[in-house]
């Protein structure tokens, strides 16, 4: 028998997990780094919306075309493992670097699953692309914050 496959259910649950963890992560950053609270809270809020968008799109479009036998062939999920546990003594620039890595990996994840699901109903890859785009925009904001941060 084959190795476990990335079924639609696994992918959607993973996306939901990314968004929940991201939301918690940015809420923590908002508490820790008051000057950028508004930006981090908006990211946290956005992640919650992304989670809802992905799950809703999946539930609204899952039919016979997207059931058990469909899988995201060739997707290596270990490539997208993210770290959101920020140590107590992490500096602002370390937190930003972690956030950038998070956005980088998740946007790559969404881009890849959008590509692999393009044969399905258009709303499915469209939802993944939308989140990938949003994640990329965040990455740029975070990079610009990092560039403005004085290095030790």
């Amino acid at each position: 028998m084959e190795e476990p496959k990335a079924t639609a259910s696994i992918i959607i649950n993973l996306a939901e997990k990314f968004e929940n963890e991201s939301s918690d992560f940015y809420e923590k950053l908002a508490k820790r780094f008051e000057e950028n609270k508004a930006a981090f809270l908006s990211f946290a809020h956005e992640s919650k919306k992304y989670g809802v968008l992905i799950v809703r799109t999946y539930r609204e479009t899952i039919t016979d075309a997207l059931e058990a036998c469909f899988s995201f062939e060739g997707l290596d999920l270990s490539k997208y493992e993210v770290e959101t546990n920020l140590s107590e003594d992490a500096s602002f620039s370390e937190a930003l670097s972690m956030a950038i890595a998070l956005e980088d990996k998740t946007s790559k994840f969404y881009t890849d699953v959008a590509e692999l699901s393009k044969s399905l109903l258009a709303t499915i890859p469209a939802a993944f692309r939308r989140v990938a785009k949003g994640r990329n925009s965040r990455k740029k904001v975070l990079e610009s914050l990092l560039n403005k941060t004085p290095r030790p």
Binding site: M1, E2, P4, K5, T7, A8, S9, I10, N13, Y58, R59, E60, T61, I62, T63, D64, A65, L66, E67, A68, C69, F70, S71, S119
Partner: protein, 502 residues
């Protein structure tokens, strides 16, 4: 690998829902078993004749007020039901996996298809409109109105315990009728959950009733003079010899969707990769337990010489077999699983009988699903892996009879004409598909093939809620079908009024 949380934590006692009350039954209780782990998850009553009679009486009493309720108000009940189903989407889906065995994605697909019927039926103010014409004669106008009939019985099958009753129920109540749903006693829990949600959605007492049981309940429905029509989905012998016949005798309306033996044709110009993927879902989705499942794969050699045809056949056969051998089998709440168990041990035994018959009749067993390999440690009681037979000929039992399990028969047809003849030799006419990149072949297939649901490069030809679920020959008994406009017509009487004012 993630095993999703089971929503049923302890053995449930399923009750009947009649007149807005949850009532017990005098009948004996039978076990509902999760086929993946063989655990009892509920006990369901085998209701008595008196109990079905009482439910009909309650529904009959609720009818006059419900039919006077404006269509928009009836639609709002459905819209609220839809919202509640969305809210409970995951729970409803996991219940289906536990009671039936299908994978979680299959259950979610089933939930979605069920909800879509509620959504379509909520358009009843438009769907139920009649039509009119002025001046059909001097000063005379004529118009048609649609009126509900009374009480309908809905008898659900085991293979789609959530969705199939929803091919009918939302349209029946939207048009102003009252219903009694009898789910399969093998997997009645999701219908019980729906009844719970109808209560919360604000349907008046007696409009949507649920009576659990078996033959006694079915007989009670068929014999009751106040039941105006029956909706049934199940096997051909029951549909033809019991439901259709009895409804004819008692003057009831009837929709009886029955068995199938569906053919999928692969033409030489088909996209083999996409075709193979579609075939996997078609043949092995829902563990082959659906009336739209692919059963026979006809590899057609249209336009090829003998050598080319052999090469094409081998290529398709190998692609199919390799893909089938990779399907992960196990408990449907394990998200990595792609095929669950059969509904029960008896159904597995029946499928095993067909596999043995295939071997006896000299079909070649290319992939033997009897060698059960599961992704986790579970009792093998209800499980089989995908099976593939090659060199199957149209006269073999496995090519003719409905197996209702994960068994594929690969057959040859030299050209499209021969393939169509093979399809037409089957008494069934539920669905057929062709995989091709030729518009000409597709058009000819659609035009000639005598099946109710035709697929062009589609593995499972499942009509959406706004189209009828069609079917022909021994796959359907009745006139109008479930879903969409046809369901609205089924559940209403057309009344014509010719009017003149002096």
């Amino acid at each position: 690998m993630t095993i999703l949380d089971e929503p049923i934590k302890e053995v449930l006692t399923v009750k009947n829902y009649v007149g807005g009350e949850w009532v017990g039954s005098e009948g004996k209780m039978v076990d509902v078993v999760n086929p993946a782990n063989c655990r009892v998850i509920a006990k369901v009553p085998v209701s008595t004749t008196d109990e079905i009679d009482a439910a009909v009486k309650t529904a009959e009493e609720a009818f006059p007020e419900w039919r006077r309720t404006p269509p928009l108000a009836r639609a709002r009940c459905l819209l609220r039901l839809r919202e509640l189903m969305e809210e409970h989407f995951e729970e409803l889906s996991r219940i289906q996996t536990m009671e039936h065995g299908k994978t979680i994605d299959e259950s979610r697909g089933e939930t979605r298809r069920g909800i879509e019927n509620v959504e379509v039926a909520a358009g009843i103010p438009s769907l139920m409109m009649g039509y009119n014409l002025e001046d059909i004669a001097a000063g005379i106008d004529e118009y048609l109105i649609r009126q509900p009939l009374g009480v309908f019985g809905i008898i659900g099958p085991f293979n789609f315990p959530f969705m199939v009753p929803l091919w009918f129920a939302p349209y029946a109540v939207a048009t102003g009728n009252c219903i009694i749903v009898k789910p399969s006693s093998e997997d009645p829990i999701s219908q019980s959950k729906i009844a719970e949600l109808t209560e919360e959605a604000g349907f008046p007492s007696g409009v949507w009733n649920l009576v659990n049981g078996g033959r006694t309940v079915v007989s009670g429905m068929l014999n009751h003079p106040e039941i105006k029509g029956i909706c049934f989905v199940g096997s051909t012998p029951v549909a033809k010899d019991v439901i259709y016949k009895k409804c004819g005798e008692t003057g009831k309306r009837v929709v009886a969707q029955a068995g199938a033996k569906n053919f999928l044709l692969v033409m030489p110009d088909a996209n083999l990769e996409s075709t193979t993927a579609a075939c996997m879902t078609s043949f092995y989705g829902n563990t082959g337990q659906r009336c739209l499942s692919g059963a026979n794969l006809l590899v057609v050699g249209e336009g090829l010489d003998d050598r080319e045809y052999e090469a094409f056949y081998e290529k398709m056969l190998n692609a199919f077999t390799v893909a089938a051998s990779k399907i992960r089998v196990g408990y449907g709440l394990d998200e990595s699983v792609q095929m669950g168990p059969l509904r029960d041990e008896g159904k597995k035994e029946r499928v095993l009988g067909f596999i043995e018959k295939g071997i006896e009749e000299k079909a070649k067993l290319k992939l033997d699903g009897r060698k059960v390999k599961l992704v986790s440690d579970l009792p093998h009681t209800c499980f089989l892996n995908p099976t593939v037979f090659e060199d199957v000929t149209p006269d073999m039992t496995i090519a003719k009879e409905e197996i209702f399990g994960p068994v594929a028969a690969i057959m040859k047809a030299r050209n499209l004409d021969e393939a169509v003849d093979i399809i037409h030799a089957s008494p069934f006419g539920n669905a057929a598909s062709v995989f091709t990149s030729s518009g000409k072949i597709a058009r000819e297939f659609q035009y000639r093939v005598q099946c109710g649901n035709i697929g062009i490069n589609i593995g499972i030809v499942a009509p959406m809620a706004f189209f009828p679920f069609s079917g022909m020959k021994d796959s359907f008994f009745g006139t109008l079908h479930g879903q969409g406009q046809e369901a609205v017509r089924f559940f209403t009487e057309s009344k014509v009024v010719i009017q003149r004012w002096f």
